[in-house]
Symmetry: C2
Subunit: 592 residues, 2 copies
C-alpha cells in the first residue's frame, strides 16, 4: 500500500513519487494551501495539498487529527526559510497528488500534536491505543524489542536454549501471594501462576539441558507499591557445571554487549564488586548508586562514651550503628532544607537528623563549627569525625544513630536524595556486583531464620559446617547485579545435594512434611543425579525503564495495569456468569 | 568446570587432555577395566578407567547409572576393532586420569540406556527430569529453540516489533472456555487468561505500531482431545497497511526460511493455493494433506435418478453430496479390510461404505466389475463413474453419499487413512494456502449464523453489500496455511470500520449491549483512526511437532499436562488454604 515510511524521507528522495500511509498528526491551512503532518511508526513528514487538484483538495479539506490517510505525492525540497531543522524530514515536503481517507477519527481525548499538555495517567491507560501513538511511547517499545533481541542473540550464541516453562503451575515459594486459577477438571483445586520459573529451571538442569534461558512472564498478587505490576517479565537463566565466577563473567559480557549495541556505551570491564558487608557499611544499601559520590563513615567507636544518649546508646548497642555523612558544600543548606531532610529520614524510621556545619574549621577549629549538638561532643570525638569524613570548610556533616537497619535505610536513602538534590550524580552507567550475601536473616517479629534470597540458594562450601551452629554468619553463593542504584538482576548457585537442601529447610523451620508437600518433586529430583547448577534472573521491565529513561515501568509496557491491578482499557477484572462459577465449583463469598 | 562437551570429541582431539562433566549413561566392566559412557547435552563418549590408577579406579567402581561425574582424561583412538560407527565420538575414547563423583543417583525408574523398552507416558511425565535426559527429547527441545530463533530472526529483519501483551486480561471471544483468575483487589471479579492476543494485537495496530509479533502463551480450558494442551504457544503476528497478498507473501518467506535453515529443505515458491470450495470438493477437507494422491469425485449428477435411495436421495438433496474415491490397486483389499474402513467412516457419521471393485473393466466392461450395489446402477451411471474417476483394472472405487458435511468428513478422513495404510504418501513437505473461506456458517442446532473464523474477520469488499441479504455466500478475507494435512497457521484481514463491525455483530446476533459489554473498547478504538490491518497466528507446538517427527505436542513441550489438565510432576492443580480463598472472596461449592 505504501512505498516508504513517512519518517525515512529526506533530500535524497527529492523528485521521487512516493505513497505514504499514516495518521494526520496536525493539519494547518495557510495561504489557501493545506499542510498535513503525516505520522507513522518511523516519524513525521509534511504533505502539502494545493487547490490545483480540486478533487484531492476537497478530500484534504475533510481531514482532521488522527484520520488515517493514504497519500501519493512527489518529494520536493522545502522552500527556503521553511526548512525545519528539528525534524529528520525537515528539509523536504511531499506535494500531495492523490489522497484517500482510509478511516476517519473522532476528536481524540488525548491531543497527540501538542507537547507539554499533561494528560492524566488514567486517561492514557483508558485510551492506551492513542497514548501508544506518541513517538516517545513508540520509541520505548521499539527499544524494548531491541533489548530482548540483543539479549537473545547473545544467549543463543553462547549455547543457551530458549525453553518455555508452564504458566499454569503449582504455588512457588517466592514468598509473595500467588495468583490462583481454579481447575474445572479438578473442582476445588487450583493452579498458581508462577512468581518465577525457579523450580522449573532447576528441573531443566536436572534434565541435563545445561544452559537455559527464557523471557518469562511472572506474577505476584501484591499490594502494588510505587512501581510494581501484577505481571512482569524477567530474563530467566540457569546453567550447569559452572561456578559463580564463570556465570557472572558470561552475564557481564551479555550486559556489556547490550549497552554497546543498544546505547552505544562501553561499560567497565570487569564490573566492580562489593561484598554485601562493604556495601552496607559504605552506602547503607545492598544496591548502592555509585553515581553518588557520598559515603557513610562509621563513628560509633568514638561516640560510645559521649554524654549524649542519642549517639551513645546506639554506639554501644551491638545491633546499633552511628554514621557520619559528609555533604561537600552542604554548609549552604538552609534551616528549612535541613528540616526537609529530617522529615525525609523520618520516613525510614529515623527519630532525628543531627548535623554539623563546617564554617571555618581550618582557621578556627571547633569554634568554626555550628551545630545544636556540638556541646555534647568532646574535642577528641570531633577531631576523629573531621578526620574520617575529610570534612573541610563549607561542608555539612549529617549523622545517623539508631538500630543498624534504621541507620542503613535512612542514611542510605538520604545519601541518594542528597546526590540528586545537589546535582552530584555522575553521568553514565555504574554497574556493580554485590556478593557474599548472608544466607539467613532473622525475622524481627518471629525471631525465625529466613532465607535472604530463597531456600534453594547454596551456602558457601566453607560455611556449610556451621549452618546449624551459627547460621547468622553463613554466607551464600548469591550475587546481585546493580545498575545506578537499581537491582537489575539477582541469582545464586543452587543447592544440588539432597542432604544440604534438607538441612536448609530444617533451619528455615520448614518441616519434612511441609517440604514434601510443597517441594517434594524437587527433593526427589535431587536424588537422581542433580548436577551442580546456578542461575540468575533480570527484571526486564526495570532494565528497559532505566535504558529508556522512563520514570515508571508502566511506560515500557504496552498494556500495564493500575495500582489496584485493573486494566482501564478492557475493564478487567470483570464479573463472570454464575454458570462459569458453578462449573468451577465456586461460589462468591457474601459479606459478613 | 569442563573443557569440552562429551559429544563434540572426535579423532581431531587425539592426545588432548580434556575435562568432561556429565551423567553415567552406562557402565560396563570388562577384562578388569571399567567402561563408562558419559553423557551430556551434546552426546556420549566412552571413558576407560583401568586399575593402574588405584584411587581413581576405586571411585569408578562406585559409579552407577545417572551418577553425575567430572572426569579428566586423555583422548585416544579406540583400539582396532572397537570403533563404533554409530556414535559420532565412536572413533575415540577418553582414558580417565581423574574422576569426581559430583552427585550420586538412586536407581532411576526410567531406564535411559536401553532403547526399545517402552515406558508409560505417566511415568515419563512424573519423572520428566529423567525423561528429558533422553537424547531424542533433548533434540526436540533444541529444535524448538532453533525454530523460535529462526522465526524471530526473520521477523526482526522484516521490521516486526516483539511486543508483550497481558496474560491477566478480559475474557476473549474465541469461543472456547476461559481460564479465570480471581482478583483479590476486586473481590467477586475475575481476570481471564487469553485464548489468544487477538484484541490486543488489533489494538497495537490502532496504536500505530505497524508490525507486531509475539511468541505468545495462550490458554483454553477445553475438554482435552487427543492432542490439545491447556496452555499452548502461538507465533502471533499483525500488520497494518498490507493486504492479504502482501502478508501471505511475507509469511511464505518466513516459513520457507524456517525450513531451509532448520530442515535444510527448499519449499515450493510460491506455495500452492486452493479456495475453500475447491479444497472441500476435491479433498473433503479445508486442510487437505497433499501428500495423498487421492481425490473425491462428484457423481451426484449421474446418480440422482437411480433406483437406489442411498445414492439417489442425497444426490437430489441440495445439502447432500455423492462422491466416488478411486483407490489405485484397491482391488486387492479383502472383505475384512473393507469392513474395517466401513467402521472407520462410521466414526464420522457415514451409514455405510459402498464400493466397486474393478476387476476387468477393460476387457469385460460391466461384467468385469464386482459390487453389491452394481445391480442398482445403469450403464450410463457406471460409464460416467469409470470415466470421471479414471479407474482401471485392479482399482477399487469407494462411494460416499449423505449430507455434504458427513460425506466431506468421512470420505476426507478415509482418503488420508487409505493414503497412510497403502503407503501412498509422497515424501517431503507439502504446504498449501487455503483461501476464500465463507464468512459464516449456520449452526445446525440453533440455525443462527456463526463466524467461521472470528467476528473480527473482514468480508471481501465485493461481498459487503450482500452481508445481510445473503450471508451464506459472503466470503471472508481469511487464509489458512496447511502443511501435510495439518493447519499450522491461520489469519485474516480484519474489519477496520466501526460500521462494518457492527453489521457483523448484528448478523451474529450479538446485540449492541452485548457488543458494548464484551468488545466496547475495541468498537471505541475503531472510531479513532483505525488503520487497515490483518494478521496470522501459527501453532508453534504443532509446527515443531511436525518438524521433529514427534507424534504428540507433549513431546515438544518441556513440562506438558495430562489429558485431564494435571501436571504429574508437581501435582498441580492442588488444594489451597481456606485463608487464601477467603482473601479472594470465594468459597468451594459443596455438592448437591
Amino acid at each position: 500500500m505504501r512505498t516508504h515510511y513517512c519518517g525515512e524521507l529526506n533530500s535524497r528522495h527529492e523528485g521521487e513519487e512516493v505513497v505514504l500511509c499514516g495518521w494526520v498528526h496536525r493539519r494547518r491551512d495557510h495561504g489557501g494551501v493545506i499542510f498535513v503532518d503525516l505520522r507513522d511508526r518511523d516519524g513525521l513528514v509534511q504533505v502539502v495539498l494545493d487547490p490545483d487538484r480540486a478533487e484531492v483538495f476537497a478530500r484534504a479539506e475533510q481531514v482532521r487529527s488522527e484520520y488515517v490517510l493514504k497519500v501519493s505525492g512527489r518529494v520536493r525540497a522545502r522552500p527556503r526559510g521553511t526548512v525545519n531543522p528539528d525534524l529528520p524530514t525537515g528539509e523536504i515536503e511531499v506535494l500531495g497528488l492523490d489522497l484517500d481517507i482510509l478511516n476517519p477519527s473522532e476528536t481524540p481525548p488525548i491531543q497527540l500534536d501538542e507537547h507539554g499538555i499533561e494528560v492524566s495517567e488514567e486517561l492514557r491507560l483508558r485510551y492506551r491505543y492513542l497514548d501508544l501513538r506518541r513517538p516517545e511511547m513508540q520509541a520505548r517499545l521499539r527499544t524494548r524489542s531491541l533489548v530482548t533481541r540483543t539479549l537473545r542473540g547473545f544467549l543463543d550464541a553462547h549455547g543457551f536454549l530458549d525453553i518455555e516453562t508452564p504458566i499454569l503451575t503449582k504455588s512457588t515459594p517466592e514468598g509473595a501471594r500467588d495468583y490462583l486459577v481454579p481447575s474445572r477438571t479438578h473442582p476445588g483445586e487450583f493452579f498458581a501462576l508462577p512468581q518465577s520459573p525457579q523450580l522449573f529451571k532447576q528441573l531443566l538442569m536436572m534434565s541435563g539441558l545445561d544452559r537455559y534461558y527464557q523471557i518469562a512472564r511472572c506474577f505476584r498478587d501484591e499490594d502494588l507499591r510505587a512501581d510494581r505490576q501484577p505481571e512482569f517479565t524477567q530474563l530467566d537463566i540457569e546453567v550447569s557445571f559452572l561456578d559463580e565466577e564463570a556465570l557472572m563473567g558470561i552475564m557481564e559480557g551479555m550486559i556489556r554487549t547490550l549497552f554497546r549495541e543498544v546505547q552505544g556505551v562501553e561499560l567497565p570491564e570487569p564490573f566492580p564488586r562489593l561484598t554485601y558487608a562493604e556495601a552496607m557499611r559504605r552506602f547503607g544499601s545492598d544496591r548502592p548508586d555509585l553515581r553518588v559520590p557520598l559515603e557513610l563513615v562509621d563513628v560509633a567507636d568514638v561516640l560510645g562514651g559521649v554524654d549524649f544518649k542519642v549517639f551513645a546508646e546506639p554506639a554501644r548497642d551491638p545491633h546499633g550503628r552511628v554514621v557520619a555523612l559528609r555533604l561537600p558544600g552542604g554548609g549552604e543548606l538552609t534551616r528549612k532544607e535541613i528540616e526537609g531532610y529530617t522529615q525525609f529520614v523520618a520516613i525510614y524510621g529515623a527519630k532525628g537528623l543531627a548535623y554539623i556545619k563546617v564554617n571555618a574549621w581550618n582557621e578556627q577549629g571547633r569554634e568554626g563549627l555550628q551545630s545544636p549538638i556540638l556541646k555534647f561532643l568532646p574535642d577528641q570525638a570531633i577531631d576523629a569525625i573531621m578526620t574520617r569524613t575529610a570534612a573541610s570548610d563549607g561542608d555539612l556533616i549529617f549523622f545517623g544513630a539508631d538500630q543498624a537497619q534504621v541507620v542503613n535505610e535512612s542514611m542510605g536513602a538520604l545519601r541518594v536524595r542528597l546526590g540528586q538534590d545537589r546535582g552530584l550524580l555522575a553521568a553514565g552507567w555504574y554497574p556493580l556486583w554485590v556478593v557474599d550475601f548472608p544466607m539467613f536473616e532473622r525475622d524481627a517479629n518471629s525471631g525465625r531464620w529466613m532465607a535472604l534470597h530463597h531456600p534453594f540458594t547454596a551456602p558457601k562450601d566453607e560455611h556449610l559446617e556451621r549452618l546449624e551452629s551459627d547460621p547468622g554468619t553463613c554466607l551464600s553463593r548469591a550475587y546481585d547485579l546493580v545498575l545506578n542504584g537499581t537491582e537489575i538482576g539477582g541469582g545464586s548457585i543452587r543447592i544440588h545435594r539432597d542432604a544440604v537442601q534438607r538441612r536448609v529447610f530444617d533451619l528455615l523451620a520448614i518441616s519434612p512434611e511441609q517440604a514434601e508437600d510443597r517441594f517434594g518433586f524437587l527433593l526427589k529430583a535431587l536424588r537422581f543425579g542433580c548436577p551442580p547448577h546456578g542461575g540468575i534472573a533480570f527484571g526486564l521491565d526495570r532494565l528497559v525503564m532505566l535504558m529508556t529513561g522512563a520514570t515508571s515501568i508502566r511506560d515500557v509496557m504496552a498494556f500495564p495495569k493500575t495500582q489496584s491491578a485493573a486494566c482501564l482499557l478492557t475493564d478487567a477484572p470483570a464479573s463472570v456468569d454464575e454458570a462459569q462459577l458453578k462449573e468451577l465449583g465456586l461460589r462468591i463469598r457474601t459479606k459478613g
